[in-house]
Each structure stands twice: as structure tokens, then as C-alpha cells.
């Protein structure tokens, strides 16, 4: 138990370290384009206006840019040191702790993610609000995909040992087809099938409801299509992998022995083959997070859900770098922790695997 504790602590520590390194890199790179913040706040340059004709227009514009940089802390040096080159001589200048990176890092340690370039507001509450939508959505989708994959995997494997035939072959083909379908096509297909007056008009077209008095049942119905889209996006991969591994297990020696002893195919699958086939599934599950994050962008856009995927996609499109950096931090952290969790589950599922802190 102590070993597991040490191992977990080491894994989590590594995950935090790696997430910090990735976020720092993105932070430093993004600040190279800090002029974008002033562009965002001062508006577009393609509008007609009188400001540009005034003699002091350049001064006013310059002062506004300076004020924004001052307010957002962009006037400070970017990092602890600056490299300058004059007349062929390279020199390094030390800025001390008064730099943007140090301020960001200290803020991060205190739980502050920084201010948005877009409206100068703290990013933390925005991410918390978005996570409140994305976590239930992805958790439900993950749960649905796992349960679905177990059921479908067992059904596909529970047949004649030769090639798949009949409805199982059809199901296999359907899953393969679903796997090849881009998520946006899948989500739009569901939308046009179940929320369309010309087809089945039985589910809401978008997840956000302006009615605060809406019953929980109606609210739950609004989540059906987004969750279903995400489940169908990840289920085929898991189910096909599980079915393949199960069929492989059924062809091994211990399965033949079990059958010779009179064990039914169903029991053999559930009691003996499934625990062995679960290992590759764990690896696939750990790798699922990027797919779910990418999927959340599409699903949240199509079904109008204000989750992290949409927040991140819009921040990237608007060059709101502090929001992007926070997103990178969350995603990297979640991904690394998922990998650590998968390793722990691996060790739990297969006692032959040893944990080394």
C-alpha cells in the first residue's frame, strides 16, 4: 500500500511538472504575439470612422495601446532575462522578479489563471463555468461508451468462432462505418434525424434552455443528443478492440480447456476472457481523452453547450492567449493524470505488472 502511495505521488508529481512545462512554453510563445491583445480590445480596423482623420489620431491610438498594455501587465519584460544584440555583441539583461512570466507563475500557484485579453476579466470563473458543463458531458459519454463497449464487445465475441456472420457481421460493419464517420457529420446526422420537423421531431435542437423553470426531465432530454453523439464517436473503437481481444482470448488454450470441461461460452467470456481482454481497453481508455476533448469542441458547438471545448476553440480563434494557456494546462494535466490512472489500473488488473515510483 505504501508502495502504491509513493508510486501515485511520483506519478502525480511528474504529471504536474510536465503540465507546468507545457503551459510555460505555450505562455511564453503566446506572449510573443501580445500586440494581439491591443488589437482585440481596440476593435477591428475595417470600420469607417472619424477618428482616423484627426491630427492626433496616431497619438490617441498609441496612448490607448500603452494603456491596455499597462492594464494587462504586458508592458513588463516577458521573462527573467532578455537577450540583446548590439554591434555583434550579445548581452543578457536580468530583470529580476518583475516580469510577466513570474507574475503568471505566482498567480497560478495561488489559483489565479490570469486575465482574458478579450475583456480583462479573470479566467478562472470562466473555466469553472465551462467545466461544469464539460465534465458531466464527457463523464456521461465515457460511462455510456464503456458500458456500450462491454455490451457490444461481448455480443460480438459471443458467436461462432469462425468469421462473423449474420447480424453480428452487420453490427461489426455498422461499428466500422461509425468509426470512419467524422464527428461533425455524426452530430449533424443525429440532429437532423431526431430534432427535425421533417424527420423525428422528438428531441430539442440545442442544449441550452432559456427557461429556468424547465423540469429536470426536459433538461435531461436536452443532453441526450450531445451525449449520444460523443458515445457513438468513441464507442466503435472500444467495442471493436474489445471484441477482437475477446475473440483472441477465446482461441487460446485455456479457453479450449474450459470449454472441454463444459463451461458455456457466455460464462467463459465473462469470467475468464473478459478480465484478460480488459488490459488493452484500459490503454485505449487513457488515450480517449484527446478524442473526447476534440469531440467536445464539435458537440458543444453544434448543440450550443457552453463547455470547455467551445471556450478553447473560441479563445484560439480570437487569439485570447491567457484562456488558451489555461486550457492547455487543464488538458495536459487531465491527459497526464489519465495516463497515470491507466497505469495504476493496469497494475490492479494484472498483478504481474510492478509499479516503480
Amino acid at each position: 500500500m505504501r508502495l502504491l502511495g509513493r508510486w501515485l505521488a511520483a506519478q502525480v508529481g511528474r504529471a504536474f511538472l510536465a503540465a507546468w512545462a507545457i503551459a510555460s512554453l505555450v505562455f511564453l510563445l503566446s506572449r510573443l504575439d501580445a500586440a494581439k491583445a491591443t488589437d482585440l480590445l481596440l476593435g477591428e480596423t475595417d470600420n469607417l470612422g472619424t477618428a482616423v482623420l484627426r491630427a492626433d489620431a496616431d497619438t490617441i491610438q498609441h496612448q490607448a495601446r500603452q494603456a491596455i498594455e499597462q492594464r494587462l501587465g504586458l508592458a513588463e519584460p516577458l521573462f527573467y532575462t532578455t537577450r540583446t544584440q548590439q554591434a555583434g555583441t550579445v548581452s543578457w539583461h536580468w530583470h529580476g522578479l518583475h516580469n510577466q512570466y513570474h507574475r503568471w507563475l505566482v498567480g497560478l500557484l495561488h489559483g489565479h489563471l490570469g486575465l482574458s485579453f478579450r475583456d480583462g476579466q479573470p479566467i478562472g470563473p470562466r473555466w469553472r463555468a465551462a467545466l461544469a458543463y464539460t465534465i458531466p458531458l464527457t463523464f456521461l459519454a465515457l460511462l455510456g461508451a464503456i458500458v456500450g463497449a462491454l455490451l457490444v464487445g461481448l455480443v460480438l465475441a459471443d458467436g461462432p468462432q469462425a468469421a462473423l456472420s449474420g447480424w453480428r457481421a452487420g453490427l461489426h460493419t455498422l461499428l466500422t462505418g461509425l468509426q470512419g464517420l467524422p464527428l461533425f457529420a455524426l452530430a449533424l446526422g443525429l440532429l437532423f434525424a431526431f430534432a427535425n420537423p421533417d424527420m423525428l421531431n422528438i428531441l430539442p435542437a440545442y442544449a441550452g434552455s432559456p427557461d429556468d423553470e424547465e423540469l429536470w426531465g426536459q433538461r435531461a432530454l436536452r443532453l441526450v443528443l450531445p451525449v449520444l453523439a460523443l458515445v457513438l464517436a468513441v464507442l466503435p473503437e472500444l467495442a471493436l478492440l474489445l471484441a477482437h481481444t475477446l475473440r483472441h482470448e477465446l482461441s487460446t488454450g485455456y479457453a479450449t480447456t474450459a470449454r472441454a470441461k463444459g463451461l458455456s461460452n457466455g460464462k467463459l467470456l465473462r469470467r475468464h476472457a473478459l478480465p484478460n481482454a480488459i488490459l488493452p481497453l484500459l490503454t485505449a481508455l487513457a488515450g480517449l481523452l484527446p478524442a473526447l476533448v476534440a469531440g467536445a469542441v464539435v458537440v458543444e458547438t453544434i448543440f450550443a453547450l457552453p463547455g470547455t471545448g467551445r471556450l478553447l476553440a473560441e479563445a484560439v480563434a480570437m487569439h485570447d492567449y491567457p484562456v488558451v494557456v489555461a486550457g492547455v494546462l487543464f488538458t495536459a494535466l487531465a491527459r497526464l493524470l489519465a495516463l497515470a490512472l491507466a497505469d495504476a489500473l493496469y497494475a490492479w488488473a494484472d498483478p504481474r505488472i510492478r509499479l516503480v515510483p
Binding site: 472619424t50 482616423v52 480583462g120 426536459q218
Partner: protein, 579 residues
Amino acid sequence: MKYFWFGWLLATSISSCSLPADKQANSTVRIRWNRDPESLSPLTLPNQNAVDAATLLHCSLLQVDLSTGTYAPALADSLPRMQLLGDSLTHLRYQLRHAAAWDNGRPVLATDVAFTLKLIFCPGLPNEKARTQLGFIRDIKLDPTNPRHFTLVCRGQAPEFGFESGEFPILAEDALDSKHSLRQFSLASVATANTAEPTLAALAARYQQADLEDHSGRLPGCGPYKLAAWKKNQYLTFERKTHWWADSLRPAPLVLQAKPTKLHFSIIKDDATATLALRRHELDVLPQASARDFKRLQALAATQQRFAFYTTTSYEVVTAGFNTRRPLLRDSLTRQALSRLFDPARLLQATQLGQGQRTVGLVHPNDHRYYASNLPLLAYDLPQAQVLLQRAGWQHRPTGWTRPAAKGQSEHLALALRYRAEDPVFQTIALQFKAAATQLNIPVELRPTESSLLTTALREGDFDMYVRIQKGNPFAFNYASMLHSRNVQEGNFSKFGTPATDRLIEAVATAETPAQKRQLLQRFQVMLQQQAPLVPLFFLPYRLVTDRRLQNVYPSAIKPGYSAPTMTWTDAAPVLAQQ
């Protein structure tokens, strides 16, 4: 039995989820927004939806009347009286309405306007954009004999000052500065103060603590609505105030009408989802519908009866531009020749399904006062392009078009065309231009560019040609941002400008009488066709679909393209009459 109960539960949930509009509150209007307003702080207003929301919560001195397309008095009781002083100052005299009052009954006074202006110029607040727009206001003079009368002192002279000076939400002094500590400062001293000034720093701190970006309710406005709910990126609900000062005005001007008891704005980014939501009665108004969805809805028999369809020509013009600093494109004949390779008629059909309008220049074709209808529309004409290229000194050889350049060298006509990536309209235009150029043996390299990089590339002159949208309005005829030589570092991406054209642009912007403006704009449009630093291809349409029972929609070419506060349901009159 259990299946029966399950079925009943499902059917009940589903039927109650998609209530038809008839069962909704009669005077509620549900409108689609394609993005969140992001901030409701009256100083920030980062996008059009934020501006529209601010109009519901607050009142400005002047507001746009969508029925006439002009500015009309809102808090002010009339348009400002303009007085020119010498050649560098303008005085604008405003009088506030007697009825104008805050929710607590306190009248809206000139001191509130002075406070709002000082807030806009106060250092340390997120007011840089507003400050830039109103930078021409140098001072405000209150009238000691009339608390509702004041004079704005403006630096410079331009007809547009008349409306630009009145287009900002007026805030209550008592809500943010109950001790009236800012009254000791003049506007100029606030503008030049630094962030460390104790009174101003305290005000900035109070403003930031109020967190008005997300909690607009902490700053009550004198607009007709209050914010009832806001779930970011999901929806906003505005509720009509039971007692609003403008209710007593007889007759109520259009800009001071507010009919619906509730306005719901659903944030739906995806066009297909929004269209389905409209068809399922989850929305009543679908602004800026895509061309394809608009046509499809119009074609469906089931939707024809239920919805009203409106199209107006917006003030957004799709424009191709040339980098006039490039040796290849320095002469106007080459630019004119290349202009003939665009086919605006077919492009309008292909990208907007024929909606929108072709144009001779940057003036809106429906502005009959100033639009030069005597000039020819740009037309696709390959033979004419060839002739113009030859007149510009280009010679057609098997390897392409060449002409002698300096130092005995020759230059080869080959172009790189930049446009914003992932925009099908720009992509279609670029492909059509390339196909036409290929027929003349002119190589064109298409460079779809991410929007931020595109702006940088255009500013730095890293392009031969570009395609983009230029946004205008019906009020200002100031083309300096895009064509004046002073702005080659900012919005004048074509880097065009000669002393003569600069003078013309300045004269257009400062013309005082309509006759003078008409004459100058005619010259400007002729100049634009002759010099061709940029080629306006067509004005984009605004498409609006609403429930047929909604009246007083006022579809408009001015953003947002409809008037939410004036909308009424044809069968909802008794409910509204009770307010």
C-alpha cells in the same frame, strides 16, 4: 405496465419540451445570437451583441432609428445644436428630456453625462476603445441655470461629431460615485491624470469590484430592460421594467419603444442548429441566416406559411485590394486590368444566391443621394483586361506577361492573393479570380491565411492582392482609414494615397452641405474606379427570418438588422396594453 409508464413519461417530457410558440408567454420574443456578448460593461462592449444588450439596459443621448436609418434623440430631447468655433473647435449643445429618470425616480441630469464621460477617460479602467472613439471630446460645460443642459467641446470639426458625440450609454453618477468626488475634476484633467491619482484610483477600484462585465445589475441603467438571467455562451434573458420613464412619452419615438415583456437571446453558434430550433418553435427570430438555410426555408411549403422572410443590403462590402507599393501593381492600368478578372455578378450568385447588390464603389447603392449610378458596374471582361495590360506596357509571351523594368531588367506578372482561410465566400472569389487569370496566362498563388496573420501580413505589405470585407455605415463618409496615406501603417492596406487623393478624402469627410458632399463623393467614386487601389465587388445581404405573427420588426441594413424592443405579436395586443 412498466412500459406504459415509461412511454407516458417520455411522451410527456418530449411534448412539454417542444412547446409551440402559442403556449409561450404572449409577449416574449426569442432571438438567436451566434455569439455571447462576453461583457455587459458599458465601457467595454466587445462585440455587436454586447452593444445591442447595452441598448436594452442603458440609454444614450442619441440612438439609431431603424425605420429611417438615421440617429434620433433618445435621452436628449433633440439632435445637438452644432456651433463651429474658428477652424479647430466644435461646440455641441444638448438638452436632456424632462421625463428621463433612473429607476429610483431621480432625473437623468447633465452631471450624469459628465460623470460618464469622465469614466470613459479615467485611467486604469477597461475603457480604451470608448476613449479612442470619443477622443475628440475635450470638455463638457454644464449650465448652472439648467441641470439638463450641457455643451460638449470637441477638438476638430466634422459633421459626424453630431451623432458620434451622443452614442454612448449614460451611467448613473450616484451608483458609482455617490460622494460626487469626480466633480472636482475637469474632463481634460481626468484624461491626462495618471493611474496613481487617489480619487481616480478609488473610482477605478470601485468599478472593478462591481465586476460589471458579468453583473450588469450592479449598475442600473435607464434603459427599458433589466437583465434577468445570463448563462454565458448559452442564453440571456431581459425583462421589461414595469415602470420605465419613457412610457409616459406621447407619442413615444421609435427608439424609446419597448414592447416585449421578455427578450430571450439564445446563443447558438451553428447555423443548422439555429435553423432547426426556429422550425421547432424554440426561436422566433433568426437574424443573419445563411444563404442556403434562408433559401431552403423559403422553399419549404410548411415554413412559407409560418415565417416571414426579409432581405436587406448591408453596409458590408466585399472588396479586393492591390498592394500599390509593389512595382507590378504601381500603375492604375494594371490594377484596372486585373479588376476585370473578377466576375461580381456570378460571384454574387454563387456565394449569396443572388442576394446582396453589386456596386460601382464604396457608397451604398441604396443611398440615392450620393451613389454614382452613372458610373459603370465592374464587369468580367477578359479582352478588355488584355487591352489594359498591353496599355500598361505588358507584353504577352509564351512564358507569361512581362514588361521592361529598371536597370535593363524585366518584370514578370505573377500574383499572390491573400484572404481569410476557411471562409467559403473568399475562397470562391479567389478561385474564380485564379481561373480567370489562368486563362490570360497570369500565374496566381492563393494564400488562405489565418485571420490574425492576415492582418499582420496586410499591415506589413506582405501580399500582392487581398480579398476582405470592409464595414461601413450610413452616417459617415470617411474613407481615410482605408485610403489615406496617413494610415498606411494601420487600415490602408493597399498603401494607396497621393496628395490629391488625400485632399479629396479629407474634403469628403468634412463636407458640410449635402450638395457639396454629393459632388465630392461623385469625384471620389470616379477616382476609385480610375485608380483602382481596391475593387468593391458587392455589398453583402442581411437575411432575417421571423415568426410571421411578429410585427414591427423593422428589418434594416444597419446592425443588428432588426429592432427587438419594438416587436409585437399580432395576437398579443391585449397583454401589451395592460403594461
